[in-house]
């Protein structure tokens, strides 16, 4: 693992600063290449696999034909074209956006809370968001304004309440110990889930749409949902990516971060707000999908080290690839019916979570 991180031993006689930095941090472009290749592979798999298997070359030709001036799909059956472009592509993209968003939020929560176990689902943000979304769905009001759905905003309100309550309860001094964070998150999650279930039982007419919010799934994906989530996910990602270096400084304790000139309270507020908005947007279109925000950032850290300037973009790329892959398994494992994708991520994530829990000793 270390080999990937340090391409060469540190040459202490060299006064060439960029080389020293690369030696300590590793070069950025090979990682990005790995990320993009993994993502591309996952996308193609997600488009080609399903109840109707479509050959990979046909899939690629259908995709390319949507570029202006390219017409390579004349010999491809129309049904295949519809399946790839209208059914699978939105689903793959939505899974990708949700995975990227959840992994990025997980990495951000882990940095801000200085806690390796922080993750949108485990700290109750996802269930809080689901409750917020459920209230809107159940109330039946149409809150879309100019094509922009308010569902993510309602989810954001729920997520924000969760993160504030959990942070307030779990905080000891300037750090948030793993145990209290997870306990507070689980307690709050149980409450939010209980209320959501109650609302579901009271409003049987909307049960189906609420059900898809509670149990994560992409089987209702469409281009409209992508249009819902992007206006929230993209700005959040921009804000978080801009704070990569600052997030490194926050991994010191609060006193040191202040001493280095960081406005700690303001920065935490910005980052928690952005991470919560991003995860809420993901939850409002895909439901509560756990553990993506735990597995992906940790895998990235093991491979390429803790620098958030690499961790955040790599979590975005590999988070997207991971959830697209999990969704492929979700629709292929038990054909012709589908397994909710949240079950697949839980299967991967829980053993990993238990392993980290044993290792974590409060400090990070």
């Amino acid at each position: 693992m270390d080999v990937l991180r340090r391409s060469a031993p540190l040459d202490l006689t060299a006064d060439v600063a960029p080389a020293v930095l690369r030696a300590v941090r590793g070069a950025m472009w090979p990682r990005l290449l790995v990320g993009f290749v993994a993502l591309l592979a996952a996308v193609l798999l997600g488009l080609a696999l399903g109840p109707a298997s479509i050959p990979l070359d046909a899939t690629i030709r259908i995709l390319l034909s949507h570029l202006p001036g390219v017409g390579l799909d004349s010999d491809v059956p129309v049904t295949w074209r519809t399946i790839v472009w209208e059914v699978r592509l939105p689903r793959v993209l939505l899974a990708g956006i949700a995975g990227a968003t959840l992994a990025m939020s997980g990495a951000t929560y882990q940095g801000v809370f200085r806690n390796p176990l922080a993750e949108p689902y485990l700290i109750g943000v996802a269930t809080g968001a689901a409750l917020g979304a459920t209230i809107v769905v159940v109330s039946g009001v149409d809150l879309s304004v100019g094509g922009l759905s308010a569902l993510p905003l309602a989810a954001f309100a729920g997520a924000l309440v969760s993160v504030i309550v959990v942070y307030g309860v779990a905080r000891v001094g300037s750090t948030v110990p793993a145990t209290t964070l997870i306990l507070a998150g689980v307690a709050l999650s149980s409450l939010a889930t209980a209320i959501t279930s109650y609302l579901m039982l009271q409003n049987t007419s909307n049960t189906l749409s609420v059900f898809s919010v509670v149990l994560g799934s992409f089987n209702t994906a469409g281009w409209t949902k992508i249009a819902w989530v992007l206006p929230y996910a993209v700005p959040s990602a921009a804000v978080i990516l801009a704070h990569g270096r600052v997030l490194n400084v926050l991994s010191l304790d609060e006193e040191q971060a202040r001493g280095l000139g960081i406005d700690v309270e303001r920065t935490k507020l910005i980052l928690l707000g952005a991470a919560s908005l991003a995860s809420a947007a993901a939850v409002s279109v895909s439901g509560t999908i756990g553990f993506v925000g735990l597995i992906v950032p940790h895998a990235v850290r093991m491979m390429w080290g803790p620098d958030n300037r690499a961790l955040l973009p790599m979590s975005i790329l590999l988070g997207a690839a991971f959830l697209i892959g999990a969704d492929v398994i979700a629709r292929m494992a038990d054909r012709p019916s589908e397994i909710p994708v949240g079950i697949i991520t839980a299967f991967c994530g829980v053993p990993f979570f238990l392993y980290l829990l044993r290792r974590a000793r409060g400090a990070y």
């Binding site: 280095l260 000139g261 620098d307």
Partner: protein
């Protein structure tokens, strides 16, 4: 004075300039502070009720001031009040002439670098990465460290003998090595004022002397100022230009080591049987426990 390459150019003109009329790097006047429980780090509960009750002191360019006093006397609170980590109840703190409360965190970090007591370091970051974090106040949000920043980190790490393990993760370093890394980070910050809260706590005799010797050199050669909490009174006497002795949040004595470290005062403040005698070579006071009296 030769313009120090280590002092940031963005600081106001005249800051850190020599001569008796120079603006003090640090000026604390009638400072009253209660420990802020909310921002208290987990390990320091014992000092929760300590307060400062009207403390005044100053640090001029080129001088090393030692802050001494018993456990819980308010030394750490004073350092934290200067950095803004603890908000004063009344009184004022001026950094290079400017009211500290009115400065942004970044402007404060450009004026004063701090080495806190027992700082937590993230295990996975390498020593060089941690020292480079010292460049934070010099960088805007989207900037990354450039060659100049690495050069500053390298200078700081060579001065603290930490460069040889620059690529080792903090989790693999010993307590003393980590402490020197934090000192290096404060040097890389290139602030005219250095605040050190027991920088020598985990160091052996050689490295203790090394760090304090380095502080003295920075003061002499670059006209920086140092305020250091030092527990070992003999060590403080050898390396500090002036000492400030505080007890129960009040200044009991300040001046040269010979003026402050007097047998009667120390016995009263520390409640321990000690004797003070001059060092055979330097003539500076040596403080030794005198067990014979028990």
């Amino acid at each position: 004075m030769t313009q120090s390459p280590l002092v940031d150019r963005s600081l106001p003109a005249g800051a850190g300039s020599p001569g008796p009329e120079a603006v003090p790097l640090l000026q604390v006047r009638d400072l009253v502070a209660a420990y802020n429980r909310n921002s208290q780090s987990a390990g320091s509960r014992s000092r929760a009720r300590t307060a400062l009750r009207g403390v005044s002191l100053s640090v001029a360019p080129g001088e090393v001031v030692g802050l001494v006093g018993p456990n819980g006397s308010g030394k750490t609170t004073l350092i934290r009040a200067v950095t803004g980590f603890v908000r004063p109840v009344s009184g004022e703190v001026r950094l290079l002439g400017d009211d500290s409360a009115a400065l942004s965190s970044r402007d404060r970090a450009l004026r004063a670098a701090v080495v806190p007591q027992e700082p937590l370091l993230p295990d996975a970051f390498t020593a060089l990465e941690i020292v480079l974090m010292g460049r934070t106040p010099h960088l805007t949000l989207l900037q990354s460290e450039d060659a100049g920043d690495v050069a500053a980190a390298e200078r700081a790490m060579r001065a603290t003998a930490t460069w040889e393990f620059a690529d080792r993760p903090a989790g693999e370093l010993s307590g003393g090595e980590r402490q020197r890394v934090v000192v290096a980070r404060a040097l890389a910050q290139e602030a005219p004022l250095l605040l050190l809260d027991e920088p020598t706590a985990h160091l052996d005799l050689g490295h203790q002397a090394g760090v304090l010797e380095l502080m003295r050199r920075l003061c002499r050669e670059e006209r920086r100022g140092v305020l250091a909490v030092v527990h070992d009174l003999t060590l403080a006497a050898q390396y500090c230009d002036r000492l400030v002795l505080i007890s129960s949040g009040e200044v009991v004595a300040q001046g040269t080591a010979a003026e402050v470290l007097r047998r009667g005062v120390l016995r009263a403040v520390y409640g321990a049987a000690v004797d003070v005698f001059p060092h055979p070579q330097t003539g500076l006071p040596v403080v030794a426990p005198s067990a014979a009296e028990r």
